[in-house]
Structures are given as C-alpha cells and as structure tokens.
Symmetry: C2
Subunit: 287 residues, 2 copies
C-alpha cells in the first residue's frame, strides 16, 4: 500500500515548523502542507471556544486540500480540541501532547517532571494527565509561561530581552519561588525536577537559553521530535506511506497572515528550510 | 525497595472483582483492599457529578486505610473522574480505560473496533480517544449498553433473560441495526468490526454469551487483564512491590451495601475467590 497524498500540519503560528522540520527529516519522501494561523496567533491566551473554532477552520482548510493525515502541531489546540477534531474528520489526527508526555516520562529518573506551556494548555491539565497515563507515579509540576510564544513569533531567540523573559518564566519551576518569594510548585523541600518538558512547539527554538537556565541536571524534552517519530510510525503501521521516496515530494506553507512576514520570520528561525509560503483565506475569518 | 502497604481497588459494585482476580493472579504476594459501592450501584446511569462525588468518597475511604496505589476498576468512574482523582491523591492512580484501549488497538486487524460500555462511559468518549491515542487510524464504534450491569449485579450470567438482554444490547453493533431496523453505527456498507472491547469491568462475566453472539471473527478484549498487567508493571517500575511474596498477604472486600448479599453474589460469580467481606460506612452516604 502507498498513499501519495500530503500530510497536513497545523499550528497557530510558526512554532509548529519545529514539528514539520522533524517530519521532513524523518520522512523525506512525504509531501506536506503546513498551515499557520498567524493572523490570530497566539492561541494560548484565548478562551477554549475560540481556540476550538479557529483550529477547526484551519484544519478544514487542510482537509479540503486532500491530506491523508492531520498533525495538530499546536499544544493549545491539541489540549483543547483533539477529541473534537478526531470526531470531526475521517482521517488519522495526531496531537503533540501524548508523544511529548511519553518522552518525558521515559526521561525522568527522580520521577519529577516540570511542564511549561501556554495558559490554555496548562488549564486543560492535558500534559499532567498524559504523563500520569504513562506512569501514574511520576509527579508533574505544571507552569503557564504566556510570555514565550510572543517572543518566538517576534523572532527574538537571543539577546537580553529573550534571556530576561525566559529567566522570569522559568524561575518558579527551577527556583521553586515566584517573584514575591512564594513557592508556586508543591515540590517537597529540597526536591527538584530532573526533566523539563517544553509543552509548546515554539519553545524548542528557545532551547539554548532554556537549557542553560535549567542547568545540567535537568533533561530538556520537547514534543516536536517525539511527534514526528509517532507520525512516521503511524504512516508505516497503517500503510499510509508515500511509496516513492524523494521523487516529486513537495512542501508548501500556508499562512492566514502576511506571507512575506511569515517567510521572513521562518527564515530568521529556520534558515532556508521553508521557502514556499502562500496566503490562505479561511471562511469568515474572525479575530 | 519494597512497600508492604495494600493495593486499593475500587468499583461501583462487584464488576471490579474481575480486575482484582487478575491482580491477585499476577501479584500473589500483594495485599489488597477492595471497595464496592454496592449501595449506590450502578453508576453508569448516573449524572457525572454524582459519579464523581460517590467515587471520591469511596477512594477517600481506601486512602484512609493507607494503600500504596489506587486502581479505579470502574470504567464509568475512570472516564468521568480519573484526572480529578489523580489531582486529589498523592498516590499512583490507575484507570481501566487506557489498558483496555491499548489491548483493543493491538487486537484489531481491519482497524474497526466496537466498544460497549455504560452510558456515562460512552458519553465521555474516553475509549474513543484512548484508542485513537494508540492508533489514530483505527475506527471506533461506541455503543451504550445500560442493561448489562444490572444483569451481572443480579447474578444472571446465563439463561434466557441473560441471552435476550445481551443479544438486544449487541444487535446494533453486530448487525448494524437497532430494534427499529435503523442503522446506528456509521459502519460502511458491508464492513464490520473485528474486535469488541468490553468497556465495563462487569462485562467479562458475560463473556461466553458475548463471544457466541459476536461470532468467531470478532476478538473479545476486556480491560481487567490488561489493567492488572499494567498495575504489576507500575509497581515494578516504581519500586512499590511488596517484597515478601506470599508471606502474610491479605485480601479484604468492603461494601457500602449488605455484606451478606455481596458475599452471596461474589460467590455466585467467582466461587470461593473472595471470602472476606466487611461493611464500610462512607461519610454522609447520599443515594
């Protein structure tokens, strides 16, 4: 069996390109269509209903382009809507949360995992539950870090602003205290996490800063790599692989925002990996 | 490491004894405390809030008895409340849905799985989602069968009433039609499931009837065995095993209902497996 149709990958913005990059690395023969809803990013600070309706519009647009599988490369959308998407589409729909949770539960040795993500993802406790599903004895400390996506979407991956913003976001989880000196995480005295799960596909782009601030004793796990591996396995197990590796595969990136701005940002974040950017119109685009 | 504390196992009634039986078979050195909320069974027809509050009362009673892990051997409770229980207790909490879903997704060859469960479990789509998590390309056909738990709780595992009730409950999934000849399941014409997941711990006791009605081409998967295996793995991976296998382990069954009635029913369903039945009072027992 083989299936030449492209894989659809969706994110609120450019963060999901970390997942797309890993997919293309692992399955170079596959075609892909990426849709970034940049006009309405970031999703993580929006109410659940908006995340659900914006995501559904975006995924509808990918399904109209005859994809064979959908990757929801947005943690917020996965947390809020994966069940809904799976009921709506007669296609395999893969989220980023479970693969990331599986990787984190395998990485921890002291059974204490910290999760940073957008407020919507944290609110859903989707990572908490997914990690507990992998190993119910792992303690999970969740922390919302709303300042990081805007940082990435602005292309600020280095420099004093990025450093300060990441340090502030990470402080409670690493230090166990918030800005007022109050302990936020219910970590036992003297205990600490040994694994930090980046519960947002934008965050791997801040990897170097995060790793330095977290320190050598903390393993950094991100879901992009794990999700790409899970997708490759999904295609193989279900006979959905393209068949002719490397021959005539194509990749196109769609954005609801300004294509020139998307191309510029993707270039700054990923170099020359994603050259083909086109504009897409979603029906009745609400903001 | 070793941990002599008992394992707590909870169900709305006696159905969870199918899970307990498998746990004792696989981990004969462990002690167990089972709690059946028989006074308020069945849960599957109750609103979510009642399922949640009744389950929490029951699990609180097990935690007060210093268990080292909790098994929610009730699909309805797992579907409605697993996340809530995991946030409430500082203990590993294992549900029955994920292990059952994993077994079903491995069993199917044509990627069409039928799930029968209580209305509350089906309403949650917890099995749908858990099977999709295992393999997003598997089609899941869910069907609520509220008549089966009362049958088991009444000890009616054979005979004309049991046969007729099971046949009626299973008809839409096997035949693709309900009593009025309307197709309930969105199975493609000519297609059929090759795996039937028993999404309720009571149902394995109706196994012989279910297997005969489903036919030879349909694999019957139940969550009791899978959950017991998952628990044994959980204890091992996290250093929670008892340590002295077979020496002084004990098993007690608690019921919110009439102990004599529980013992009689357990005897009819399981023979002499569960001799020690005691009454338990839960705080402010609402019905």
């Amino acid at each position: 069996m083989s299936d030449p149709r492209p894989i659809g990958v969706f994110d609120s913005g450019v963060g999901g390109l970390t997942v797309l990059r890993e997919i293309i690395r692992r399955a170079p023969g596959e075609s892909t269509i990426y849709l970034g809803d940049n006009a309405r990013a970031p999703y993580g600070i929006r109410p659940d209903e908006e995340v659900l309706s914006f995501s559904t519009q975006s995924l509808d647009a990918l399904v109209e382009r005859d994809v064979k599988a959908l990757v929801v490369a947005c943690n917020t959308s996965t947390a809020v809507g994966l069940l809904s998407f799976r009921r709506r589409y007669d296609l395999p729909v893969l989220g980023v949360i479970r693969p990331g949770a599986a990787a984190a539960s395998l990485a921890t040795r002291n059974r204490r995992v910290g999760v940073i993500a957008t407020p919507a993802t944290i609110r859903s406790h989707a990572y908490f539950n997914a990690i507990k599903d992998e190993n119910p004895a792992v303690e999970v400390y969740e922390h919302a870090t709303p300042a990081l996506v805007p940082l990435v979407e602005a292309g600020q991956l280095t420099g004093p602003t990025a450093e300060a913003t990441v340090a502030e976001a990470l402080a409670p989880l690493i230090g166990g205290r918030d800005a007022d000196g109050e302990s936020i995480f219910p970590l036992p005295p003297g205990a600490s996490i040994d694994t930090l799960l980046l519960g947002c596909t934008h965050y791997p782009l801040l990897g170097p800063i995060l790793a330095r601030l977290a320190g050598e004793g903390v393993a950094i796990v991100d879901s992009a790599t794990a999700t790409a591996s899970a997708l490759v396995e999904l295609l193989k197990v279900n006979g959905l692989e393209r068949g002719d590796p490397g021959v005539g595969s194509g990749h196109v990136q769609l954005t609801t925002g300004d294509p020139a701005r998307f191309a510029d940002l993707a270039g700054r974040l990923f170099g020359t990996d994603f050259p083909t950017v086109e504009s897409v119109e979603l029906g009745a685009l609400a903001r």
